[in-house]
């Protein structure tokens, strides 16, 4: 399949700060998730694709054309920025129709497209309200509407799900998937793995300006599984609990927390540990207060991958 977006040895600095470091990447049709913690370089990459920034080294092309200072490229791109910013003194309708003016459509077509886009995001009833009066979810949706109103075949969404309630997230995920079903290309960024998982199985992991890994979700999961999980169990008797697990071969390491009530376990077989823990706790009559997985977050996964 031909790459829709292609980056070759792409680097970008902000003064002395490295934003993106030697990134080579090809993005094909369908949904690609750009996953990384805050400050990883996701937004920088998206700004380079949408021509908002100029590469320091390397190149980025969209359908074979360089993105920087080529307005022709932007005709087919819809961009939804991360920031919750708008021209606040206008209504949702004025915002979407105003931005549609820049595509050379007739007035009738602008109205039709704006009505369609606002309908898609369920904002028809609120289209004449000032954006400053919109809820966070409505603001995210009107941002999405302006990105899709001109029917782009490439959609670049920078953290589109942040700040949305679960229902809002589900609606937007459905919209993005509908967009993909129409044979278009979507690049969506997030720092939350489940959000990306809900959208696509094709993921690019980015951290400290570098592409750490790319592939489908099972591949990423495998990478993650290659590293031991930390599980913290706070209970009435952590030492008695530890004694029960001493002979367990799936446990690699056990330590006690500074509070004297926490047992921290490192294991490759998290599910096996949890199923055994239930039995042990019931059998020994140990009162468990809290079970948490301190490394079960994306940042920790990235740290594993970086340290690999």
């Amino acid at each position: 399949m031909t790459a829709v977006i292609a980056a070759s040895n792409l680097s970008k600095w902000y003064g002395n700060v490295l934003g993106l470091n030697d990134v080579s990447l090809e993005i094909e049709e369908g949904i690609t998730g750009l996953l990384g913690p805050n400050g990883a370089g996701k937004s920088t990459f998206m700004k380079l694709i949408t021509g908002q920034m100029k590469p320091a080294i390397g190149s980025v092309t969209v359908r074979g054309r360089k993105a920087w200072n080529d307005p022709g490229v932007y005709q087919g791109i819809g961009f939804c920025p991360e920031q919750d910013v708008f021209y606040e003194d206008v209504t949702g309708w004025e915002f979407v129709t105003g931005l549609l003016r820049f595509y050379g459509y007739s007035r009738t077509e602008i109205r039709e497209r704006a009505a369609r886009a606002l309908d898609v995001v369920d904002l028809t009833a609120d289209k004449d309200r000032l954006i400053r009066g919109y809820s966070r979810g409505m603001r995210q949706r009107v941002k999405f509407a302006q990105a899709v109103a001109h029917d782009p075949d490439i959609l670049i969404l920078d953290e589109p799900l942040s700040g949305l309630d679960p229902l809002g997230k589900r609606k937007l995920i459905k919209l993005i998937k509908d967009f993909k079903r129409q044979g278009r290309t979507v690049l969506v960024s997030s720092h939350v793995l489940p959000e990306i998982e809900a959208l696509t199985s094709r993921v690019v992991l980015i951290h400290q300006g570098k592409i750490l890994a790319q592939g489908d979700i099972p591949f990423i999961r495998e990478l993650i599984e290659a590293h031991p999980h930390q599980i913290s169990v706070r209970s009435s008797d952590p030492r008695a609990l530890a004694a029960r697990f001493v002979g367990d071969k799936s446990i690699q390491k056990m330590t006690f927390g500074a509070d004297g009530r926490t047992l921290v376990v490192e294991t490759h077989k998290r599910d096996a540990f949890f199923s055994r823990l239930t039995g042990v706790v019931l059998e020994a009559g140990i009162a468990v207060e809290e079970i948490s997985s301190p490394d079960d977050n994306l940042q920790a996964v990235f740290e594993y991958l970086v340290g690999k």
């Binding site: 908002q52 307005p71 961009f79 003194d89 206008v90 931005l99 003016r101 820049f102 050379g104």
Partner: protein
């Protein structure tokens, strides 16, 4: 979309947005100051038209020429690019299929028209209130349009300059204030050709000029006249220079905006 069409669309968008902002309301209210002053002067100096004309000249010079058009152009001109960066709305504009210079030209043109409307209304109200007794005099209208034209040229030249400053500098408003209320106010009173390094010099050159009478006062006044004397440039040359200043700074602003990356402050 062609460049001209893009400029037109940007112009339309920002004409609409510009009218809705609180900044426009505030500056429109500011424009009522000379109107209120005109009402007071008309009541106080009722029947003394010569004195009223002199007062209006002062209003024109001090308020409109050296304050109102400068502060309007400073705030609107620098905001052409700076407000997009500060409000982080630039992404909505530069990801559209329009040339970047069209954004600068369309937006500055929209703001210039808006400023000209504010200046025009303020000038018309104050001028005709103070000259209400001479409304049948055709010279009254000729003078009004001359004043309006001069202020219009001033709006264009200052807007172009401040648009350029806004495109280049992060804190353009501070530098703009130093230029607009420091340099422009001081340099115009220097004798010789130094005063030609200010925009206001060319604007004043287009106004009716009354040379100071030599030896008309005491020694001190004579020195003052020497220091504060306008040495006008010929009207056609003044118009040409103002046009070159406007076109030159707008072209520079477009070039800078096209080449520069604008980063949002975290």
């Amino acid at each position: 979309m062609t460049g001209v069409s893009a400029v037109r669309q940007v112009f339309g968008f920002f004409s609409f947005l510009g009218r809705k902002t609180g900044k426009t309301r505030a500056f429109a209210i500011l424009g009522l100051i000379p109107v209120a002053l005109a009402v007071v002067v008309r009541i106080v100096l009722h029947g003394r038209s010569g004195l009223m004309a002199a007062v209006f000249t002062e209003i024109l010079m001090v308020f409109f020429l050296q304050f109102y058009i400068v502060i309007l152009a400073l705030f609107y001109g620098t905001s052409v690019t700076a407000e997009e960066v500060e409000n982080r709305t630039l992404s909505y504009l530069i990801t559209r299929p329009i040339p970047k210079p069209a954004i600068v030209l369309g937006k500055s043109a929209a703001y210039a028209v808006l400023m000209f409307a504010m200046v025009g209304v303020s000038l018309a109200l104050s001028y005709f209130i103070m000259n209400a007794a001479r409304l049948s005099d055709p010279d009254l209208y000729a003078t009004f349009f001359r004043y309006l034209g001069v202020l219009g040229l001033g709006v264009l030249a200052y807007t172009a300059f401040f648009t350029f400053l806004g495109a280049v500098l992060k804190r353009a408003i501070i530098v703009g204030m130093v230029f607009g209320f420091g340099w422009e106010n001081v340099i115009q009173y220097f004798p010789g050709s130094t005063q030609k390094l200010s925009i206001v010099h060319y604007l004043k050159s287009l106004l009716p000029y009354h040379p100071p009478s030599v030896g008309g006062g005491g020694g001190g006044r004579g020195v003052a006249l020497l220091l504060f004397r306008l040495e006008p440039t010929a009207p056609l040359a003044a118009i040409l220079i103002l046009a070159v200043v406007t076109a030159g700074f707008l072209a520079l602003a477009c070039w800078v905006f096209r080449m520069k990356e604008y980063l949002y402050e975290e």
